[in-house]
């Protein structure tokens, strides 16, 4: 189970504790005067962004103070994207939500009304300040010679991917494979289903989350290829050493757009609203974009990114979720109860 945890950006730890104590005192003595002094932002995010937001929070807090604003406490919470969305629905007081799929934010909007329906048009690029894609992580030297999606259904290949039912990342994996199959078989959906069934016949373990799958592949030594977020694949290289694995970029993959939004219904003051929107808008600033690239995301504005960092991201055809009618259509069709994923599994 993905664990949710709340951490303070390291440099602000003391200040955050003091602020919490102050807020606690204020709450007990003068409940009304609380929001005036200290603006709090709780960023509810998903698993792989932990390191990125820790650095971004430090950068943003400095920027916010440099702009002449009052003190700010930034907290972050991480877990599986779907579980985080449910936590917000059940009352976790997120100021901003930065999740893996727009479907998860749509769910918050639909179930709580705390986010306007047109939230995705409030910020540039479909409210996705950074993007990623799905790539293959293979063992060093690529012993099975895997170059594209077609190689994954060979008989002696084991594929590691998490469960699309419980992992947002795994849904991108599934759709990327599906997009390739549709393209390869000239749009023949029956052939694409056959391909998916063959692919999942090669999957020996379905972890519940992306990090779990990465561990199964990297630590437990299971499988020949891991379908992973590009940023997770780079992270695995960073942690296990460059000579442990190779990254293989397939011919077709998904344009993964992890979206961000302000949870309007949880905003308690104008100052907080201003800070929350600034927090998200500054994600598009050249500095934050460079930070995102350093954490292995693909960025829109690369003016501050050194060339050698950009060279790590080869070009490929990236299919947008819009090709599947957006998440509102794709989610029930592919991953709902009895959807294509269930059919592929039950038809094995």
């Amino acid at each position: 189970m993905p664990r949710r945890q709340t951490t303070d950006g390291a440099p602000f730890h003391r200040r955050a504790i003091l602020a919490l104590i102050a807020a606690g005192l204020a709450a007990t003595t003068a409940p009304g005067a609380r929001a005036q002094e200290e603006v709090q932002i709780l960023n509810v995010s998903y698993d792989p962004t932990r390191e990125f937001y820790r650095e971004y929070n430090a950068w943003f807090a400095d920027w916010w103070q440099a702009e002449g604003n009052g003190p700010l406490t930034l907290r972050q919470s991480h877990g599986g994207s779907g579980g985080q969305a449910r936590a917000v629905i059940d009352g976790l007081e997120a100021t901003v939500a930065t999740l893996a799929l727009s479907a998860d934010i749509d769910a918050i909007a639909a179930r709580t009304g705390k986010i306007p329906e047109d939230w995705q048009s409030r910020l540039a690029h479909n409210s996705a300040p950074y993007t990623s894609t799905i790539v293959f992580l293979v063992r060093d030297g690529n012993p099975k010679g895997i170059t594209d999606w077609g190689d994954l259904v060979a008989e002696d290949v084991e594929v590691i991917t998490p469960n699309p039912k419980t992992s947002g990342g795994a849904r991108w994996n599934f759709l990327a494979a599906w997009a390739w199959a549709l393209d390869a078989y000239g749009g023949d959906e029956a052939r694409a289903r056959e391909y998916m069934a063959e692919l999942f016949a090669n999957v020996p373990v379905l972890d519940t989350g992306a990090r779990g799958a990465t561990n199964t592949f990297a630590q437990r030594g299971l499988g020949d290829v891991l379908l992973a977020w590009e940023n997770e694949a780079f992270l695995a290289l960073e942690e296990q050493g460059e000579d442990a694995f190779d990254i293989v970029v397939p011919s077709i993959s998904m344009l993964a757009e992890p979206p961000v939004t302000v949870v309007d219904g949880n905003i308690t003051s104008n100052e907080q609203r201003e800070a929350a929107f600034a927090y998200l808008r500054q994600l598009y600033s050249p500095q934050a974009q460079a930070l995102a690239v350093r954490h292995h995301y693909r960025a829109w504005d690369t003016s501050e990114v050194p060339q050698y960092e950009l060279d790590r991201f080869p070009e490929l055809t990236r299919v947008s979720i819009d090709a599947f009618g957006g998440w509102t259509e794709a989610q029930p069709r592919f991953f709902g109860d009895g959807g294509i994923f269930d059919q592929v599994y039950e038809g094995r």
């Binding site: 779907g82 039912k165 373990v205 519940t208 437990r220 599994y345």
Partner: protein, 276 residues
């Protein structure tokens, strides 16, 4: 005099207060959450519930969950009795340490247990390499995790009874000409049966619903190693709260039937052997 006062209808003061507090606490943490689950089921109606549960995938998962829990609890029944016996009857260096270690499965976060077991029994793990069959990412892995979390229940139920059991009873049995096996079968085991059953029932109930440790070692493949609690989580991820509740109610009903049966067996053995 004193005994008279004790059997009077309302002898101890504060019954009302303590009973009220007990019920309030029980309601807040046990009865109300279960009532909510059951209430959700009643709102759905039995036909709807049955429709949601009656799919091959759910039956396979329920079968796996209860089968694995049963196997693990049976292993614990034997192994737990043995462990309790060794701890009570023998004195050896490190006994207290082992005695304390028995409680570790209670204290350790189950996820940690699951990850540690997976690391050991994965195909590239220290034990996994040596074993001819696949343990982690297959059904035996689930048994292993459930044996781990269920062990203390049997040991801790049997231990106190075993400590009370006077070795002189066994000696008397021996002097009357009984062999060791007969003494064990006719003297020791009947005394321990109620405690063993209690431990077994607790371990079983605990392992049927276990999620945290199993999820790391199971492999989680539909129709193969997908446990029922994972299906509940999957339904939640689909925001399908009704279907999640339906599986929860199915598990609740099966567990209830099992515990009831165990209780009946316990009452029966108690009456037969005369042991409380």
């Amino acid at each position: 005099m004193a005994t008279h006062r004790f059997v009077a209808p309302s002898p101890l003061p504060g019954f009302g207060l303590s009973f009220g507090l007990t019920m309030a606490a029980l309601s807040a943490v046990v009865l109300l959450p279960i009532a909510m689950l059951v209430g959700r089921g009643i709102a759905l109606g039995p036909a709807e519930l049955w429709g949601m549960v009656n799919t091959p995938r759910i039956w396979t998962a329920l079968g796996l969950s209860f089968r694995a829990a049963l196997i693990a609890s049976l292993v614990n029944l034997v192994f737990g009795l043995l462990l309790a016996w060794v701890l009570v009857r023998y004195r050896f260096p490190g006994r207290r340490l082992i005695d304390a270690a028995v409680d570790l499965p209670f204290a350790l976060p189950t996820a940690v247990a699951g990850i540690a077991l997976t690391a050991l029994y994965a195909p590239n793990g220290a034990f996994g390499q040596l074993l001819p069959v696949r343990v982690a990412y297959a059904e035996p892995g689930i048994w292993l995790a459930l044996i781990f979390i269920g062990l203390p229940f049997v040991v801790r139920s049997v231990q106190p009874v075993l400590e009370e059991l006077d070795p002189e009873l066994e000696e008397a049995s021996a002097t009357l000409g009984a062999s060791r096996a007969v003494t064990l079968r006719r003297v020791v085991l009947p005394t321990l049966t109620p405690a063993l059953l209690t431990g077994f029932a607790l371990a079983l109930a605990r392992s049927v619903g276990e999620y945290g440790s199993v999820i790391f070692i199971a492999g989680n493949l539909p129709f193969e190693t997908e446990i029922a609690p994972l299906l509940i989580v999957i339904r939640l991820e689909e925001y399908n709260y009704d279907a999640a509740a339906a599986i929860g109610i199915a598990m609740l009903m099966i567990s209830f039937a099992m515990l009831l049966a165990l209780n009946l067996i316990q009452t029966w053995t108690r009456r037969r052997t005369g042991h409380a």
